[in-house]
């Protein structure tokens, strides 16, 4: 069986995988990083989103072999070493953007990518469109949109005016 070498949340790993092993299986089963979830089998729900070299990717639709030589960040790798949360994590908590929490890791990872790639600004419609690949069955998205908007302001150093 082939090996893949990749850096996950700052740590380098070399792991033996089958050709068909998915990145999400490598993360959950070989590395014990169970924060990344699996919510579907048709690449529709986004519960599995991680960052590969800074881009959000559905890890259920990525072969582990494709991640060879890359740098992967999962939900477990977002907070600083001293436990300080990422502004997106903070915003989700502050705005009650999660209920059961199952969609949350993928939602947070997608939202960070969306905010990072749009320094010019994000309207409510942009956020809704940008998160279209992530399903949440609990929240109705209302508070997720609020949280992402708030995090955009923190992440880009802008003051938040009229959160509504």
């Amino acid at each position: 069986m082939p090996n893949v070498t990749l850096t996950v949340n700052g740590k380098s790993h070399t792991v033996e995988v089958e050709g068909r092993t998915l990145l999400v299986e490598l993360l959950r089963e070989k590395l014990g990083l169970t924060g990344t979830h699996v919510g579907c089998d048709t690449s529709q729900c986004g519960a599995c989103v991680v960052h590969i070299d800074g881009n959000s990717v559905k890890s259920c639709t990525t072969l582990a072999l494709q991640a060879d030589g890359t740098t992967v960040t999962t939900i477990e790798g977002l907070a600083a070493a001293d436990g300080t949360l990422h502004p997106m994590q903070e915003a989700f908590r502050e705005h009650h953007a999660l209920q059961c929490g199952f969609c949350t890791p993928g939602m947070v990872m997608s939202a960070i990518d969306l905010v990072q790639k749009n320094p010019q600004g994000l309207s409510e419609a942009d956020i809704r469109h940008g998160l279209e690949g992530n399903l949440c069955r609990c929240t109705g998205y209302h508070n997720i949109v609020k949280a992402v908007s708030a995090a955009w302001h923190t992440m880009h150093g802008k003051e938040l005016v009229a959160a509504e």
Partner: protein, 795 residues
């Protein structure tokens, strides 16, 4: 205000969030046990067939395979079928037809997804590969999937024991009185409507891990459940015959339920039984496709509703006839859904003096149907609120005026309906008024004109509703056919230094219990919120409780906590009286202090706790040491949240796409402990209601194939399908529980669907549309517009 409620009402940020936002939740599939095997189920791809033979030899010989089990192996061990928890009797007094529901299909498969063989291997991939090698010889039988086909004369039978595919034929209300009222009515308005079949689709797929310790004989089941004790009871007593002290059921973090994780499912029994056979842990994880064809579905009713009115538009009588699809087998609470959870709400918020409803429940070759968020109440609410707008349409009476004229007035509570329920409190005019104002109802014509000028159709719709939750009084539901009680339990353990662990029989799978309950307990005991921990989801830790569904956790589970805390406080007063050398009657408890009334002599809650556990100076002859109390609370009645939802839509006549532009909910959920959480619950419920109204539909083809078995085919509401959802509350208190709470988990999904369809019908009024069944998809609307050949007025 009583001290008990101080501190309540704050939008405290949730305790549970830290682990969820950092990827440290513990969902069932995140857990693995040493030596764990993996189970894959071979499911039927036929809607209805005789199993002629099953050849497992190739699968058994495949790499990594440890065992392959069929029904024969279960039978040899005396494994029972999956039980049903509610028995309905037909009009003629005969009990419902209750066919066997085998854990693995026995002789016949009855729906696509029916499990046939369990393949267990060292890895999931090996089990999957081996399952491909099974050879099953089927003889296909004709199948029925849709209500109309199943009740047609000569329809193929799902179960030979159920002629006409009828499970039961039930009724409620006074038929003679209704018939007489129809005779003398000035207006009669009739509407045929369906309530579309839905798939709950909690984002976490179901998962179960069975384990067995041959030394002790102890079984453990870790499962994605809303009610671990119910699973232990049903599986232990009826399926696997394991005594309760040998069976531990754990429901850890659960990623959403919405009803679908109430029921005892075959997979739970399979992994537990297999672990006992193989002496190794066995795990099964559903994939999404499997979830579509094995999680209990919701709704799927077809009804005819008729209202009789006098000349002024006062309701005289309501007559309803419903056929409810229950799927291929009876799921745990399925028979209760179209009957006692639905028809009993047909009075709605109106003082209709006579009501008669008939419900025929039928079997089809489809996935079993059971309670899904709202369970029966969304069906009756949709029926009533669509009927209301149809009456307005047919009689020309304004739809708001029609509602106001027939509301149960605020001074008429307690109000006895003609269909068994007695509402304790409510004020429907006030929720309607608040919603009309918040939604700027009066400004609608201007918004409509503006939309028309852009070539868009615009409509507004209202729904005024009440629901019954906080389930339920045990004696009452027992008389109605429940095979279980529906009280709740709380155990409050005060630790020696004054921190508190609360053990609750309810279960949180997104509702935020760890926060709301901690707020409740902290405020009543006058201790810091951080010093309270909520423990749930483990039958080895908590006393026998009934779990979470029917918006019962706070109304029933929270009330049990209040009762347990009353006992703690009483005992604390006795200890304080001893320490302060006062009479117990003179010791009052307020803000965490036991004080001799009218003096400054007091002891803190922490001091009393320490004294209870270090009883050196203590009335040891009269009082046991320790400070821990348990209470069971059995509610006196259901609770009756209600309110008003207003939806405003815009339709693009070119594409038929409906956009919800404004949504306003004003709900009366009784006292609110954490407004942030309540708002979130309502927004989530409304999202599911909008999903039902516009997007979601579980579709079977004529042959019984489930053609919408993935997120590519079943339209889940996404962020860009939904609007911001404005939520307000108006409060009347529940009169019979100590907190005055009513419950908020389901109101969103109950109140919203008719408001959406009423808005769509309003938008399409120029096209002569009187009614539209859900979901109002773009295709359906485009077809109507296209067929009418009418151009927009603005063009």
């Amino acid at each position: 205000m009583n001290a008990i409620f101080e501190g309540i009402g704050a939008s405290v940020r949730r305790k549970e969030d830290l682990r969820f936002i950092s990827g440290r939740g513990h969902y069932t599939d995140d857990m693995n046990r040493t030596g764990q095997l993996h189970c894959i189920l071979k499911r039927s791809d036929r809607p209805h067939a005789i199993i002629r033979s099953i050849d497992t030899s190739a699968a058994k010989a495949a790499p990594g395979v440890v065992a392959v089990f069929t029904h024969a192996d279960l039978d040899a061990d005396g494994v029972g079928g999956v039980p049903c928890g509610w028995q309905i009797h037909s009009k003629d007094g005969s009990p419902m037809v209750e066919p066997a529901h085998p854990v693995l299909a026995t002789g016949r498969v009855r729906h696509v997804g029916d499990p046939i063989v369990a393949v267990i291997a060292e890895t999931r991939q090996q089990a999957k590969d081996a399952a491909e090698l099974l050879v099953i010889d089927f003889e296909d039988l004709p199948a029925v999937a849709h209500i109309a086909d199943a009740i047609a004369p000569g329809a193929p039978l799902v179960h030979d024991a159920a002629p006409g595919n009828t499970c039961f034929d039930w009724h409620i209300g006074d038929k003679a009185m209704v018939d007489a009222a129809f005779e003398r009515a000035a207006h009669r308005v009739k509407l045929d409507l369906t309530n579309n079949r839905l798939v709950p689709n909690a984002m976490e797929p179901r998962c179960a891990i069975g384990d067995y310790d041959p030394m002790s004989g102890d079984f453990t089941l870790i499962t994605t459940s809303q009610n671990p004790h119910v699973i232990r009871l049903l599986m232990g007593a009826f399926v696997l015959h394991i005594p309760e002290h040998r069976l531990r059921v754990v429901a850890p973090d659960v990623g959403g339920g919405f009803g679908s994780k109430i029921y005892h499912y075959a997979e739970e029994a399979i992994v537990t039984w297999a672990a006992g056979k193989l002496h190794r842990p066995v795990k099964w994880t559903s994939d999404r496709t499997e979830a579509f064809m094995s999680d209990a579905h919701g709704r799927d009713h077809a009804s005819t509703a008729e209202m009789a009115l006098d000349a002024e538009g006062n309701f005289l009588a309501l007559r309803v006839s419903t056929v409810a699809n229950l799927g291929a087998y009876l799921s745990t609470f399925a028979p209760a859904v179209p009957t006692y959870l639905s028809a009993t709400l047909l009075a709605g918020v109106y003082r209709t003096p006579a009501i008669y409803a008939e419900v025929r429940a039928i079997f089809t070759n489809t996935v079993p149907i059971d309670a899904y968020r709202g369970a029966g109440r969304p069906e009756s609410t949709f029926l009533l609120e669509r009927l209301l707008d149809t009456i307005a349409h047919d009689t020309g009476i304004d739809r708001i005026e029609l509602r106001r004229r027939n509301f149960i007035p605020a001074d008429a509570f307690p109000y006895q309906t003609p269909v068994a329920l007695q509402y304790d409190s409510g004020d429907y005019q006030s929720t309607l008024n608040a919603a009309l104002k918040a939604a700027d109802w009066d400004g609608f014509p201007a918004r409509k004109a503006e939309a028309n000028s852009r070539g868009k159709l615009r409509g507004i719709g209202v729904s005024t509703y009440v629901e019954a939750c906080g389930i339920a009084p045990s004696k009452l539901v027992g008389a109605l056919g429940a095979r279980a009680a529906l009280y709740e339990v709380a155990q409050i353990r005060v630790h020696p230094t004054g921190s508190v662990s609360v053990f609750t029989g309810t279960h949180s799978h997104g509702q935020g219990h760890e926060t709301t309950f901690a707020q409740l307990v902290a405020s009543q005991l006058g201790i810091p919120y951080e010093n309270v921990d909520i423990v749930h989801g483990d039958t080895n830790k908590i006393p026998f409780g009934m779990g979470t569904y029917g918006s019962r956790s706070l109304a029933v589970g929270g009330s049990a906590m209040v009762k347990a805390m009353d006992k703690i406080i009483l005992k604390g007063r006795k200890i304080a009286a001893h320490l302060l050398e006062a009479a117990v009657e003179d010791v009052v408890f307020e803000n965490g202090q036991f004080t001799v009334a009218g003096t400054d002599r007091s002891k803190s809650f922490g001091e009393i706790a320490l004294t209870a556990y270090v009883p050196h100076n203590y009335p040891i002859e009269e009082l046991e040491p320790g400070l821990e109390e348990t209470a069971f609370y059995d509610p006196a009645n259901f609770t009756f949240p209600g309110g008003c939802h207003i939806c405003e839509v815009e339709i693009d006549p070119e594409t038929g796409v409906t956009t919800v532009v404004n949504f306003t909910a004003v709900d009366d959920v009784g006292r609110v402990i954490n407004p942030m959480i309540v708002e979130g619950q309502i927004q989530g419920g409304v999202a599911q209601g909008i999903g039902q109204a516009l997007l979601e539909n579980a579709v079977y083809d004529q042959q019984g194939q489930l053609v919408s078995a993935s997120f590519m085919d079943y339209t889940m509401p996404r962020a860009d399908d939904l609007p911001n959802i404005s939520v307000g509350t108006e409060t009347t208190l529940c009169t019979h529980n100590p907190l005055g709470v009513k419950g908020c988990g389901e109101v969103g999904a109950i109140g919203s669907p008719p408001s959406v369809i009423n808005a769509v019908v309003d938008a399409l009024s120029d096209y002569g549309v009187r009614h539209l069944d859900m979901p109002a998809t773009a295709h359906k609307i485009w077809s109507i517009i296209n067929a009418s050949g009418m151009k927009m007025a603005a063009e």
